[in-house]
Symmetry: C2
Subunit: 159 residues, 2 copies
C-alpha cells in the first residue's frame, strides 16, 4: 500500500484543536505549516521570511525549533493512523503534543532558500511516539531533532 | 561584588549582530526579549500574545523554545563577561549562538500570564557554555531546558 497522500496532516486535526501558531489552519497569524505523507516519511517545505533571522544571513534557531516541533507532531499523527490501519482522512486525526524537543544545530541554516523538513517515527506506543526530524537547506542537513510526542492529555482539552 | 545590573544583555550585542527575531533590538518585527543579570542568575519576563497558542488556553511550544534559546545565549554572554572579570557594558558583549537545545515540557504553559525565564551556566570554557533554563508560569516551572551555546564562529560573520 502506498502511503502517499496529498492531504495535509494538520488539516485533519479537529477544528477545536487547530489553532497552533506553527501549524493550525484556524490561527490567522500563524505559519500554517502543512506536512504531507510521502512513502513512509512525512515531509514539509517552508521558506522563512526575511525577518526570521538570527545572525545576518541565517535563519532564526527558534523558528527551526518550531518547524521541527509542529512537523514532528504531524509525523506522530500519521504513524498513529497508519498503525491503526487507517488512511489519513478516515475520521478525525489524533492530536499529539510535545513532551520533549531536542535539537542539534549542525551548521548555520541559510536564509532565503526553501527548507525541506523530513520526519519519521523511530519508536511508538499507543500514547507516545519518538520522531526523528531533519531540516535541510540547499540539499544539506543543517538541523537534526528528536521529538517526543504524546497523545493530547485530557487536561489540555478545554474545548 | 553584586552582579545585579539593569542593562539588558541583548542591548550590549554589537549592532551588526543584533537582528535576532527573538531578542535583537534591530529587528522591528521581533520579540525583543530583554534578559537581565540578577545576583548570579539571568532573568527575563515575557507575556505571550494571544495568537502564540498551541492548544486553546496554552502557550505555543515553539515560542517557549525560542524564549529559552535567546535567554540562554544572553546567559552565556553574561557568564563569559563575568569570567573575564568584566562588568556588563565594559566594551561589546561576546555573541553566542546555539549548538544544541533540549527542552522538557513538564506541563502545559498557560496563556494569558507573564512568564518568568531564569538561566544559569552549569559548565563553561572560553568558547562554549552549557546553560540551564527554567520557564515558570504563575510560580510553577512548566519547561526545563539545557542549551549549549558556542561563541559565534567566524563563518557566521558576514558583516
Amino acid at each position: 500500500m502506498s502511503t502517499s497522500n496529498r492531504v495535509a496532516i494538520q488539516d485533519l486535526y479537529p477544528p477545536d484543536l487547530a489553532h497552533c501558531f506553527g501549524c493550525g489552519r484556524n490561527n490567522p497569524s500563524g505559519h500554517h505549516l502543512k506536512s504531507f505523507a510521502e512513502d513512509g516519511e512525512v515531509v514539509t517545505r517552508f521558506t522563512p521570511a526575511d525577518h526570521e533571522i538570527s545572525i545576518p544571513g541565517f535563519v532564526y534557531g527558534g523558528l527551526l525549533a518550531s518547524l521541527a516541533d509542529c512537523h514532528a507532531m504531524a509525523t506522530a499523527t500519521f504513524a498513529s493512523q497508519l498503525a491503526a490501519g487507517r488512511r489519513l482522512g478516515d475520521g478525525p486525526a489524533p492530536r499529539f503534543v510535545t513532551a520533549a524537543l531536542r535539537l542539534d544545530y549542525l551548521k548555520p541554516t541559510p536564509l532565503g532558500v526553501e527548507l525541506e523538513i523530513r520526519g519519521h517515527v523511530t519508536e511508538r506506543s499507543e500514547k507516545k511516539a519518538v520522531v526523528a526530524v531533519t531540516i535541510s537547506a540547499a540539499g544539506a542537513i543543517t538541523v537534526r531533532a528528536e521529538v517526543v510526542a504524546v497523545r493530547l492529555p485530557k487536561s489540555m482539552e478545554r474545548v
